[in-house]
Symmetry: C2
Subunit: 77 residues, 2 copies
């Protein structure tokens, strides 16, 4: 079963990478872009048929490794 996770920076945490992309887009003529924030996306292929159990396992992985909970939030989608 494939579980998808999105990890984003918490609100208020500076995102210099996103800022750089935004400035590049502005420079390319996309002047209507006000802000870009970049996050990470993971597809976890897990050997578990029960969706609820699989999501619980992936949530554990997020807490342990995939997300830094001090500055990041995760969302299982």
């Amino acid at each position: 079963m494939k579980i998808k996770v999105i990890v984003t920076l918490k609100n208020g945490v500076l995102d210099p990478q996103g800022k750089a992309i935004q400035q590049t887009l502005n420079g390319m003529g996309h002047n209507n872009v006000n802000e870009i924030r970049q996050g990470k996306y993971f597809e976890v292929e897990i050997n578990e048929k029960d969706e609820k159990k699989a999501k619980l396992k992936v949530e554990e992985m997020c807490k342990q490794l995939l997300a830094n909970l001090v500055i990041e939030d995760y969302k299982i989608v």
Copy 2:
């Protein structure tokens, strides 16, 4: 309006970063993880009220900058 984009590696393109995460998870005891593929996630805050137009603009940005279409696919969500 905020438009969300997921950029993933195309099928068949090697993902050494995902592989490293998978091996780390296996080493931490998550033996049921078969594969991890990592992608990118963007939240684009665009000054455009019409959702259809905003998505078209963001699609253009994906093609120009956010995704490398040789090895990556994008999905506007």
